[in-house]
Symmetry: C2
DNA sequence: GCATTAGGTAGTCAAATGGCTACCAATCAT
DNA sequence: ATGATTGGTAGCCATTTGACTACCTAATGC
């Protein structure tokens, strides 16, 4: 664990584009070649390649080339970070809301 | 539940900037005025306001103005979406990795 | 009632983003 | 050996983004 993370905002940035989000969707079903991944998007290769670079750059994806085929894989702990952050903040915020609720109740029943 | 969500990529987009991320960090500790929020960032007002708009636009934050003060609040279920998405994908991917692991073991012990 | 404070508009600008075409390079199949 | 396939570069372009200054408006405090 504790792999070198891209800063969180960069990870979010990588996920902030529909194409890239869809690529991740696809990749949870297993690794795939660049051309296979790019198929569903009617998009010039270079454009698609840039999207992949963004994902890789954010640590969400890794890739390896064998022969002329590059295979792209979801990084094992790619989403852990995001998960951790989100859950922490959700939790803190919900707790706060609860506390407020309690306070209000007391106030009302006073 | 099932509030009108901004599309997920938009939510991610809103979280893809350090300033905005920091604002969310701050807001889990409770609602705050615009000026109070903006304090830590040495940033012109209009710039900061735009960041807030992005957050609001993505449904992460709401705000109300009373008198001359606008109070910004984290939306109750702001992060639920993100959480759901992330966990789902993490889970699917991890399961897949496990399955692969099992397959490899079998292969090795064959 | 006048100055201060909190928020907000309008308009400008540089850099980043997301897209394209044109072309190149390596590998695989025949 | 050569043609098709896969990936990749270089360079261009429009739009969006994140920042700024200058200015305006409406509440508040005294």
């Amino acid at each position: 664990m504790a792999t070198n993370h891209a800063p969180l905002h960069k990870v979010f940035g990588a996920l902030s584009d529909p194409t890239r989000l869809a690529v991740v969707e696809q990749l949870v079903q297993g690794p795939a070649s660049v051309s296979h991944l790019s198929q569903p998007f009617g998009m010039a290769r270079p454009t698609f390649l840039k999207h992949l670079q963004v994902l890789e750059n954010a640590g969400i994806v890794t890739s390896e080339k064998a022969g002329r085929v590059r295979t792209v894989t979801l990084s094992p702990n790619a989403l852990d970070w995001v998960d951790t952050w989100v859950r922490q903040h959700r939790k803190r915020w919900e707790r706060r809301l609860n506390d407020l609720g309690t306070i209000l109740e007391k106030e009302i029943n006073r």
